[in-house]
């Protein structure tokens, strides 16, 4: 059990929750989050948005029932956190020119990732309204914001050695195709958002196809090389 330190609305339907605790999460890892008792049944996977000595932060969208309940938590309330889970981004491989590309709420893991990189170009796409822009800009990296367009189209994969992409499934599929077409050297990684139940590798509901056999998004991922996974 962790205690909610703060839980603020940062844009229409978008929240930042700060929960107390000493965690050692790496960028791209996630927690199974639960701000209720038995209902709804499953915990919700949320990426680490940021982390410091006081606790961990999540940037999340009130998408359905569970996240709506999370958005109603107030300082002092309990929230159950299981994690950090998953592999996270391959920080060691982030050499040369690095682009981080996020679509919508998919920007969440990129902030903490960017904090670990000396230099990265940030491409953040939103359908209507940008959020957390100031926070991202304060990191000191170049930040390009795209509103209502297709953020991937604005990224020249060939100009980068490393590209990390996080966003809705169609965007991941597009990134996969783009990385296949790209003549360049870019090492493209995708952070998947498969539905999960256990979060720890025991149930296989998050399983994803890969040339080398099935992989579990929760423990072998959520970050995979673009060529390594077969998206539905």
């Amino acid at each position: 059990m962790a205690i909610v330190i703060s839980n603020r609305r940062t844009a229409e339907g978008i929240y930042v929750m700060h929960a107390e605790g000493r965690f050692e999460a790496r960028p791209g890892q996630f927690f199974m989050v639960r701000g209720w008792g038995g209902y709804p049944l499953l915990s919700r996977p949320l990426s680490v948005y940021d982390q410091d000595e006081t606790g961990v932060k999540f940037l999340y969208k009130a998408a359905g029932e569970g996240t709506a309940l999370l958005s109603r938590l107030r300082p002092g309330d309990d929230v159950a956190l299981l994690g950090p889970l998953g592999n996270g981004f391959p920080l060691a491989q982030a050499q040369g020119r690095v682009a981080l590309v996020g679509g919508g709420i998919g920007i969440a893991p990129l902030y903490y990732a960017a904090r670990h990189l000396e230099r990265a170009d940030l491409y953040l796409g939103f359908s209507e309204e940008a959020y957390e822009e100031r926070e991202f800009r304060a990191l000191g990296h170049p930040v390009e914001i795209n509103l209502g367009g297709i953020v991937l189209d604005t990224v020249d994969f060939d100009a980068y050695d490393t590209v990390w992409v996080c966003g809705p499934e169609p965007m991941l599929r597009a990134a996969q195709i783009k990385s296949g077409l790209s003549s360049g050297r870019a090492d493209v990684y995708l952070s998947l958002e498969n539905r999960m139940a256990c979060g720890v590798g025991a149930c296989l509901v998050c399983s994803v196809g890969s040339p080398g056999g099935r992989r579990k998004a929760c423990v072998d991922g959520p970050v995979f090389r673009a060529g390594e996974v077969v998206l539905a």
Binding site: L42, R195, A197, L204, S207
Partner: protein
């Protein structure tokens, strides 16, 4: 005795359960498909505190499982369509059994298959492996749990577990293929659940377990198609508990085998309901996803309840209804 539990030795209630020669230190067994082979949860608590573990369902050959979405949350339940993804029995025997040898809990292999031959051959492999280990003074598997809910490849995908006579063939062949204790896991979709359980008794099974997931469906009304590539999926979790409890009670009343009950268990009280309905032990599946400490907490909760209610042994309340 395993540490970490409440009560002095003299006051500690007797929670031991038995299937033939196999003794479970308590009735809490982790359900197949929800607990991997135990490793994942082993980092959260000592697996030795569990009554037992039923591993992920295995088939003779490796299977990739179903494509598409594999889980969908429903009201107090979940639908899953994992579709028996597993590494195959040989890989299990090689990669997981060394770990299972070290576990201080009852180890159950959950056995699936698409044809009677596949089932039987799987059982023979497990049996042969057990004999070899036995000779070397080792043991990795205590019990086989036969999952007859698998789709019968030859009958066009209808599960063996629906019709008693289709299931009889599987049970008979597997019974003949191994000397390991055999538990048959029944599907709630069985046309005649009690008859199915009686058949298992006739065919020499040592126990039955139930219920497997309940066939269910979810339609995505915007896309106008099933959420699952496989059309139907299996419902589990608290939503099914009242149904599971009733089925367990019906079966307990009508067979003389030990019954392992499951379906939606998520508290010590739930466990006790199944015991009172007549179950020898229980299995816990979906609740592991809600609470990683599920096994340890349920085991402790049962003891607490027994102490509070002055129950010295589970046999005092088993089948009291």
């Amino acid at each position: 005795m395993a540490g970490g539990q409440a009560g002095t030795p003299e006051t500690r209630p007797d929670t031991v359960c038995r299937i033939g020669e196999v003794a479970f230190k308590n009735p809490v067994v982790m359900a197949s498909g929800t607990f991997g082979f135990g490793r994942e949860y082993g980092s959260f608590y000592d697996l030795g505190r569990l009554g037992g573990i039923s591993g992920k369902g295995l088939t003779l050959h490796p299977r990739p499982g179903n494509p598409g979405i594999r889980v969908y949350e429903t009201a107090s339940g979940m639908l899953n369509s994992v579709g028996l993804e597993n590494p195959g029995i040989p890989a299990f025997l090689e990669q997981e059994c060394p770990f299972w040898e070290t576990l201080g809990t009852v180890r159950i292999v959950n056995l699936g298959g698409g044809t009677v031959q596949e089932y039987a051959e799987g059982a023979r492999l497990i049996d042969a492996d057990a004999r070899i280990r036995e000779r070397e003074g080792r043991r990795a598997v205590d019990l086989i749990e036969l999952n007859i809910s698998c789709p019968n490849v030859k009958a066009g995908g209808i599960a063996y577990g629906i019709r008693t006579e289709a299931a009889r063939e599987v049970v008979r062949e597997v019974r003949g293929a191994t000397i390991l204790p055999l538990m048959v896991k029944l599907s709630p979709g069985a046309e005649d659940l009690v008859g199915m359980a009686q058949m298992c008794e006739e065919e020499g099974a040592d126990a039955v377990s139930l219920i497997n997931t309940v066939p269910g469906m979810k339609i995505d009304v915007r896309r106008r198609r099933s959420v699952f590539d496989n059309l139907y999926a299996g419902l589990s979790g608290p939503a099914v508990k009242p149904i599971a409890l009733r089925m367990v009670h019906q079966v307990c009343r009508n067979v003389n085998l030990p019954v392992v009950g499951m379906g939606g268990i998520s508290s010590a009280e739930d466990v006790l309901e199944f015991i009172m309905a007549g179950a020898e032990a229980v299995q816990v599946g979906t609740y592991n996803f809600v609470n990683v400490q599920a096994g340890a907490e349920l085991a402790a909760g049962i003891e607490r309840f027994m102490v509070a209610e002055g129950i010295r042994s589970l046999s005092e309340i088993r089948g009291i209804l």
